[in-house]
């Protein structure tokens, strides 16, 4: 069991880089903008531009590329399915392979590549966001961005708190899962072999202690927060303020430039 080591999304990698030092608000907004761009792109030029940009961001973040790819493991499967479906279903243009009713045509190949790129680019960008931003910063940024919604009685602070607690406990629960798996392995549970039903049954000795532990933790956390006088978001001040810097201005410039180039090159 080494999913602990393969779990990249939601895991912060501390480095000192340009991307790490960006304000989380600008990173979040930029991710949104980038998503729009990815769906706006419609020819080789525009996709190529985005791909180059993605490489540049990865380099600027100083996150090892191999590690980023490994983190994308969970979506490989979806990517492959998308490619196969588009190869088979989308028709048009020159015919490359013809075999009875089955054919692979130019439009299919093109669409498959575009779609694979879209999915890959979005997931990579999302992973880069969580790899370079601490969960704390991320939720702080989200809370500030969504603050205007408070007027419409949306519990923004509570949502942000829930999100940050959830993210904070992902590594803890993973570690706990790992520990429980090891403890049950030490009692002779064999997770790797045997029929499917048998293996599903073996989840019980993991899931129950995990739930019990999660409830215990939740109760302890609630108690600890109350003991320190937590009463919700009203009038709460922050220890760490978010500040925009020249980096964020630069990012805004890059975004505008990217948008203009895209508008120019797309068809």
């Amino acid at each position: 069991m080494n999913f602990l080591q393969n779990f990249a999304i939601g895991q912060y990698v501390p480095r000192d880089s340009f991307v790490h030092r960006l304000d989380p608000r600008s990173k979040l907004l930029f991710l949104l903008f980038f998503t729009l761009l990815v769906f706006w792109a419609n020819n080789w030029f525009s996709y190529g531009l985005l791909l180059c940009f993605l490489f540049m961001v990865t380099a600027a973040s100083r996150i090892p590329g191999v590690y980023l790819l490994r983190g994308l493991k969970p979506v490989w499967f979806m990517l492959v399915i998308t490619v196969i479906l588009h190869l088979l279903i989308t028709k048009g243009g020159a015919v490359y392979v013809q075999w009875g009713w089955f054919s692979i045509e130019q439009a299919g190949v093109q669409q498959a590549i575009y779609m694979a790129f879209r999915l890959g680019a979005l997931v990579t960008m999302g992973a880069l966001l969580t790899l370079t931003t601490t969960p704390m910063d991320l939720t702080d940024g989200l809370e500030r961005l969504l603050a205007p919604l408070k007027r419409f009685n949306v519990p923004v602070h509570e949502l942000a708190l829930m999100l940050s607690i959830a993210m904070r406990f992902i590594p803890t629960l993973l570690e706990e899962t790992d520990k429980i798996i090891k403890a049950q392995k030490a009692r002779g549970v064999d997770f790797e072999t045997g029929p499917l039903i048998q293996r599903a049954k073996h989840m019980i000795p993991i899931v129950i202690p995990l739930f019990v532990g999660a409830f215990r933790r939740a109760e302890e956390l609630a108690l600890a927060m109350e003991a320190r006088g937590y009463r919700g978001g009203e009038g709460r001040t922050r220890l760490r303020q978010l500040h925009l810097s020249w980096r964020d201005t630069l990012l805004a410039g890059i975004a505008i430039l990217l948008g203009v180039l895209m508008g120019w090159w797309r068809e």
């Binding site: 602990l4 080591q5 990698v13 996150i63 090892p64 191999v66 590690y67 490994r70 706990e176 520990k179 429980i180 090891k182 403890a183 049950q184 392995k185 030490a186 009692r187 002779g188 549970v189 064999d190 019980i204 000795p205 129950i208 202690p209 019990v212 532990g213």
Partner: protein
């Protein structure tokens, strides 16, 4: 069963930014039937080391010999090894999951192919061993027990597999002093009755001194010291360098000896609380008799 580590190194998360070496070339031998205290600061590699003993993790380099099994980086771990080496993790009560104590305790034996009747019988013996009467506890939910009782049930769950070696990672963490003493006395009794090879990971020098025949001191993923308790405690300077302490009894004896003239000093090889107490009482009675 004899346990030998040969130049064992272990690295966590190889090939990620989180890669970290935990053990550096460990080599030592633990004779069959020994009670070994494993001491070291948090992060010294104790917990990583003991997980090698039943193949939960395999050495990145070097090999581990447990009884007749030899485990190195690419060996497949035999299922039987998990049965023969019982591993009790820290806070073992967090692994309880069954509806009743009896079911939870017989979970291990069932996994190793015992029939339900045999497993229940093994569970009964194990519960009695840890001092929980089977008839009283068998139908209770493990989640309604006290902390100390839950821990005993979890330990019984490992003992029920009838291991030949028992490895305990801080079995007394978070218990009150009486509970600590009781559980450790219990484990020592089981160690003797079943002639187990026992490894006790602990932070407490007192606990190590009371039971162990052999001490293994770890620091920074290496063996810092190994030997009989008296020899290890004699090197108090080295222990302090490792941010560890000598047991209070040894400390007391050293300070007392400093106050006494050389010919009246108590033997410095004493380290168990009871031994020191006995020697002291003897000396005091002698003095009183002499003055009479």
């Amino acid at each position: 069963m004899q346990i030998t580590f040969e130049n064992v190194s272990y690295r966590y998360a190889v090939g990620t930014p989180f890669e970290k070496a935990a053990l550096h070339g460990l080599s030592f031998t633990i004779p069959s039937g020994a009670y070994v205290g494993i001491i070291g600061q948090t992060g010294s590699g104790k917990s990583t080391m003991i997980q090698h003993l039943n193949g939960l993790i395999k050495p990145t380099e070097g090999s581990v010999q447990v009884g007749t099994w030899r485990i190195s980086a690419d060996t497949k771990v035999p299922a039987q090894m998990r049965k023969e080496v019982g591993l009790v993790f820290q806070y073992p009560e967090h692994q309880l999951f069954e509806e009743t104590v009896a079911k939870d305790v017989s979970f291990g034996p069932l996994n190793f192919g015992a029939t339900p009747e045999e497993a229940l019988e093994l569970g009964r013996t194990a519960l009695d061993l840890v001092g929980l009467p089977f008839e009283e506890f068998k139908d209770r939910s493990p989640f309604q027990l006290s902390g100390g009782q839950m821990r005993r049930v979890a330990i019984a769950g490992v003992l029920a597999m009838q291991p030949k070696a028992l490895v305990l990672d801080e079995p007394t963490a978070g218990l009150d002093p009486a509970g600590r003493r009781e559980i450790l006395d219990n484990i020592y009794q089981i160690h003797q009755e079943r002639q187990l090879t026992t490894l006790l990971v602990t932070h407490s020098m007192e606990e190590a001194a009371r039971y162990a025949d052999l001490l293994l001191v770890m620091a920074d993923g290496k063996v810092a010291m190994m030997g009989e308790p008296a020899d290890v405690f004699a090197q108090s300077e080295r222990l302090r360098e490792l941010s560890l302490d000598v047991p209070a009894s040894v400390d007391f004896l050293t300070k007392l000896n400093e106050q006494l003239p050389p010919d009246k000093q108590l033997p410095a090889s004493l380290y168990r609380e009871e031994e020191v107490l006995k020697a002291l009482l003897q000396r005091l009675t002698q003095r009183r008799e002499a003055s009479l």
